[in-house]
């Protein structure tokens, strides 16, 4: 029994990370109806940027955030402004194909520069510290911290979306690009800001990923899939729903892994497929974002 509590707890904590993968995806889809297939690869890119930062500046992963987050945000702004804005429109092929192409480019670019070797960021003692919740039940301090940050990030995104002028601009532009222009909003700029925000979240997720586990250029697509599954399980249009979706996915994977290590990923996919079959709108759907 205690065993299972530990398993579920671990699943919940990793679910927070998945929710962070998903939050950036969800934001972009809400604002401009774009699914960024390169999303997972951008998370991996952020991990490598953090790696380079920590190695060249000699700082810890947490400090590297101060550099990685703004850099990724700028990359996001430029990417949207220069490339992705040109794909937006009625046809769904261009954004899909361009972001797919981007995914391939990022993966192979990272491969060329860093090789396929597995890397990891060292965070020091915090990586092995645990907290005793009660008899027999332990929780890693790092995963707990990451979970807390994930919740904070989602809360912050909610705040931005519903309580700031920027969030109003996002929602208005998503409602109607032409009427938003009448308010003096430049759509190209609004979309670019949304992508910058998304990549800022991606940056945090990337650094956490780098600290938590080994990473290499090829693991991007799996992160995209986890993020995507979290969004669908949780329900489109709701950031808190995305958090719930991440938790469900994390727990499903943890349970699967506990039964048989080879079943971890499959268990997650099964949870996703079951939700898709039985409740395709997700657990906590909102009609619109």
């Amino acid at each position: 029994m205690i065993d299972w509590i530990n398993v579920i707890l671990q699943g919940v904590l990793v679910g927070g990370l998945y929710a962070m993968f998903a939050a950036g995806l969800s934001l972009i889809f809400g604002v401009m109806r774009l699914v960024n297939i390169a999303h997972g690869d951008l998370i991996v890119l952020a991990a490598y940027v953090a790696l380079v930062t920590t190695e060249t500046l000699g700082v810890g992963p947490l400090t590297s955030l101060a550099f990685v987050v703004p850099l990724m945000a700028v990359i996001g702004y430029a990417l949207q402004r220069l490339v992705l804005n040109r794909t937006l429109g009625e046809d769904l092929l261009p954004p899909l194909l361009v972001t797919f192409g981007l995914s391939v480019i990022i993966q192979n670019g990272l491969l060329a520069v860093f090789t396929a070797d597995s890397r990891k960021l060292q965070a020091g003692d915090i990586e092995v510290a645990t907290i005793r919740v009660f008899e027999g039940v332990y929780v890693g301090l790092l995963p707990l911290l990451q979970f807390a940050v994930a919740v904070a990030v989602i809360a912050a995104l909610q705040f931005v979306f519903y309580r700031t002028a920027l969030g109003r601009a996002f929602r208005a532009t998503a409602d109607s690009q032409s009427v938003a222009q009448l308010m003096g909003l430049d759509n190209r700029h609004v979309f670019a800001l949304a992508m910058a925000l998304s990549l800022a979240v991606v940056a945090i997720a990337g650094v956490f990923l780098a600290v938590r586990a080994n990473f290499d250029p090829a693991i991007g697509p799996a992160r995209l899939i986890f993020g995507f599954e979290a969004v669908i399980i949780g329900g489109l249009g709701s950031l808190w729903g995305t958090l719930a979706g991440g938790l469900v996915l994390g727990v499903a994977q943890a349970i699967g892994a506990h039964i048989n290590p080879g079943w971890q990923l499959l268990a997650g996919h099964m949870a996703f497929l079951v939700i898709l079959a039985v409740r395709p709108e997700g657990l906590f759907p909102k009609v619109r974002l």
């Binding site: 002028a165 601009a169 929602r171 409602d175 109607s176 938003a180 222009q181 009448l182 308010m183």
Partner: protein
């Protein structure tokens, strides 16, 4: 007519793809004026407003505002210059509350008389429903919110596209009675209307469009019902 007009539209041709909607159209609005543009469905009234507001691309010198040629400028830049469009059908943002719609209207932060408090003074029923989703308002309230949203950017020129559309006459009167207050604060008006009677009462000059051309123009008080009907229907 010693002063140049605030808004001068000259020889405007407007197209939707291959379809030409406006032919060599010229109208203007003097500062402080209220001008009406009337005509049947499809006459090109909304196209005219969309062209002025920048939603439809035009030749550079086809539209001059405040002394500068603005044809072809993107819509968000034209809004920043002081032209606000209240679109046909209200077009409030469904994802935003009433107050959020007003606030985003004030996104540009242009200096002037209008702010949230004063818009609420003009339309008290909006204040009562400030935090309600904009979709929950009645047609008349939505129209007031849309006008209020337009005012929040302190425009020099407010373009109103068919504000009487789909509203009961008493509601329409309720809105029109407030237009003089808007004029008094220094915003000029161009009203596109199908309701000719209301338009004539509220404005100093009238243009009547027919199939993309100006069929009749003159001072509101000088034009007879017969003349307007003839121009409206093209008989």
């Amino acid at each position: 007519m010693s002063e140049p007009p605030l808004l001068a539209v000259r020889h405007l041709d407007a197209f939707y793809g291959d379809f030409q909607a406006l032919f060599d159209l010229s109208v203007d609005v003097q500062a402080g004026e209220a001008v009406a543009v009337v005509g049947a469905n499809g006459a090109g009234k909304s196209t005219l407003l969309s062209s002025i507001a920048g939603l439809i691309r035009t030749r550079r010198d086809a539209v001059t505002f405040d002394g500068a040629a603005i044809g072809g400028t993107p819509a968000h830049t034209i809004a920043a210059r002081g032209i606000a469009l209240v679109p046909e059908g209200r077009a409030l943002f469904p994802s935003l509350t009433v107050e959020e719609n007003l606030l985003i209207g004030g996104q540009l932060k242009r200096p002037g008389y209008w702010n949230l408090r004063r818009v609420y003074e003009l339309f008290p029923m909006l204040a009562e429903r400030a935090h309600v989703p904009s979709t929950a308002l009645s047609g008349g309230q939505q129209q007031m919110a849309a006008i209020g949203r337009g005012l929040m950017s302190n425009p020099k020129l407010l373009l109103c596209d068919e504000i009487s559309l789909g509203l009961a006459p008493i509601v329409v009167r309720d809105i029109y009675v407030r237009l003089p207050m808007i004029l008094a604060q220094g915003t000029s008006l161009m009203l596109v209307e199908q309701d000719v009677v209301q338009a004539l009462k509220a404005t100093q000059r009238v243009y009547c469009l027919q199939e993309g051309r100006v069929a009749l123009a003159g001072a509101a008080k000088d034009l007879t019902r017969e003349a307007i009907a003839a121009a409206y229907f093209g008989v």
